[in-house]
Amino acid sequence: MRFITIAWKNLAGRPLRSSLTVMGLAIAVAAAMVLIGVSQGFERSFLNLYNERGDLVVQHAGGVMQLSSSIDEKLGPRIQGLPGVRQVIGGLADLVALEQFDLFAVIVNGWDPDCPVLTDVTIVSGRRLRQGDRGRVMIGKLLADNTGRQVGDKIEIYAQEFEIIGIFESSSIYDSGAIFMLLEELQRLMDRPGQVTGYLVRATGLDDPRAVNELKQRIELLDPHISAVTVPEFVHNYAHIRVGRASAWIISTIAVTLSVIGMLNTMIMSVLERSGEIGTLRAIGWRKSRVMWLVLCESVLLSIGAAIVGVTLAILGVRMLRYWPPVTGFVEGNIPMSVIVSAFMAALLIGILGALLPAYRAAQLRPVEAMRHQ
């Protein structure tokens, strides 16, 4: 018999308590993973989307909510005229609710008809928007799937009926869940004539930070009310992402703390309940350290079990979230490996932290007394 067998059989001999402890910890681990995984996935896919289209983001200076930022659309051609600038994409963005489909945060983008975003997406059915397409929209494939809408169907946005003239596919999950319409029309609907939310600027020669800063300054000199930031800076500081990240970490910290307390409780109970057995082990010569190892091993075994169950739950959970309408378009179907590894480490840490005090208590039991009171 190996030492670990004793720990294992102690757990297996109390299946209800062991499995409840594993489940409790697993759910905490899974919840933390889903939250952190979703917030990181959100950030990453956002970054990919922007990276594909530009190097710098130009928006209203001091804006917190980027969606409500407004810049004059006449600024676009002036940025385009700066040295090194290859492409400038200006667009208006909004979030709308499609209540009849239980979708509460669908992105609506307004683009110029010749905008690269419009011309680059792959049309799955129907056609692309073109000049003069009033009352018409293109929708992403994921949104089409989630709403069951097809080309020729109507969709209600801003209390108006729009005809779907095309369904497109995009590598970005944001685009796949979005509605595209002409910029002019969205400006009218949002009552922001001549305005865009911001610009994405693609430029050459941005290989070193000095060149990046130089271009930023040149752009900012065009208008005192605008600011230019790199795409990673923009995404990292995007208000929704920051709030998401912060809540994910706060909730995860709470979950982990509760798990440590839960583990502490389980192990204390199990030590007290077995004080006679532990007293016997000490009486027949087990050292204090060996008794502590036993308690620690049991707790770590529970943690490993919880990590395995928790990671499985989290992977399944995130896959299912992808098809949950309220978050459709915002959630990637994968949890990064780094999050899975962190979850294992966190579970082990919970196991060790939760067992320290119980292990100490077990080692302090005086054999004669412990056996007498059994």
Binding site: M1, E277, I284
Partner: protein, 248 residues
């Protein structure tokens, strides 16, 4: 040879108590008062006396499970108070058998027997298992190796506990009312086992008992009452069992 008993030297003593008292502060109980005794190597000692007389307290002191309030206990003529690692002493030189067995309920007989081996001489997992198997054969339980304590009779449980006590080849076996939970027939079988250990392995035995039958098998009978030794009878080795003094 016949005068060994008469001229015992200090080196012959395995364990001794010198003017030992033990007071339990919580209940202001003085469980032992000024108790002195000596147990020779290979001797079979019985401790008898009424309940509450201090028998378990004395056994715990002799087994390095507890420390006296005053006086001292010597193991192989070494004071326990000067012994750095009492856990190691208990693990390697002393075997314990308890009235209510104290087996681990989640482990099989074979596994329970291996428990002390983790503190004994280094053995591999398979060496531990085969040694435990041999011990179970020695106590007549090889057919119960894979049974859990709850699947065994009380007699079988006590045999398992005895095999466990022998795991690290101790020189001293301490038993606190080992037959107290057994009927007389099963109890008799356990006593026969003790006799064999005493005879075949020259094991030193100290056994607490209420049973006159055990006491009859012993070579030294110590009677405790109210924490004091009220009699200490030595039965010479050459006397046959039938001639030994019967107590109680």
């Amino acid at each position: 040879m016949s005068d060994v008993t008469a001229t015992s030297t200090a080196a012959d003593y395995l364990v001794r108590a010198e003017n030992v008292s033990r007071m339990y502060p919580d209940g202001h109980v003085t469980a032992l008062v000024d108790v002195s005794l000596a147990v020779r190597r290979g001797q079979y000692t019985a401790i008898v006396g009424p309940s509450g007389g201090g028998k378990s307290t004395l056994l715990n002191l002799l087994g390095a499970l507890d420390v006296p309030t005053s006086g001292r206990v010597l193991f192989e003529e070494q004071p326990l108070s000067a012994t750095a690692d009492l856990d190691r002493l208990r693990a390697r030189k002393i075997g314990f058998v308890f009235q209510s067995f104290h087996l681990l309920p989640t482990l099989t007989a074979l596994e329970n027997v291996q428990i002390p081996m983790f503190e004994g001489p280094r053995l591999s997992a398979s060496q531990r298992a085969s040694k435990a198997g041999q011990l179970l054969v020695a106590v007549g339980l090889s057919h119960r190796a894979t049974h859990l304590p709850k699947q065994m009779s009380v007699g079988e449980r006590q045999r398992t506990a005895i095999a466990r006590a022998l795991a690290n080849d101790p020189m001293l076996l301490l038993a606190d009312e080992p037959t107290g939970n057994l009927d007389s027939q099963v109890g008799g079988e356990i006593l026969d086992l003790f006799d064999r250990l005493h005879r075949d392995r020259s094991m030193t035995l100290i056994v607490i008992t209420h049973s006159a039958e055990i006491a009859r098998r012993a070579q030294q009978i110590i009677t405790l009452r109210d924490g004091r030794i009220v009699s200490n009878e030595s039965v010479a080795d050459f006397l046959s069992d039938a001639d030994a003094t019967t107590v109680e």
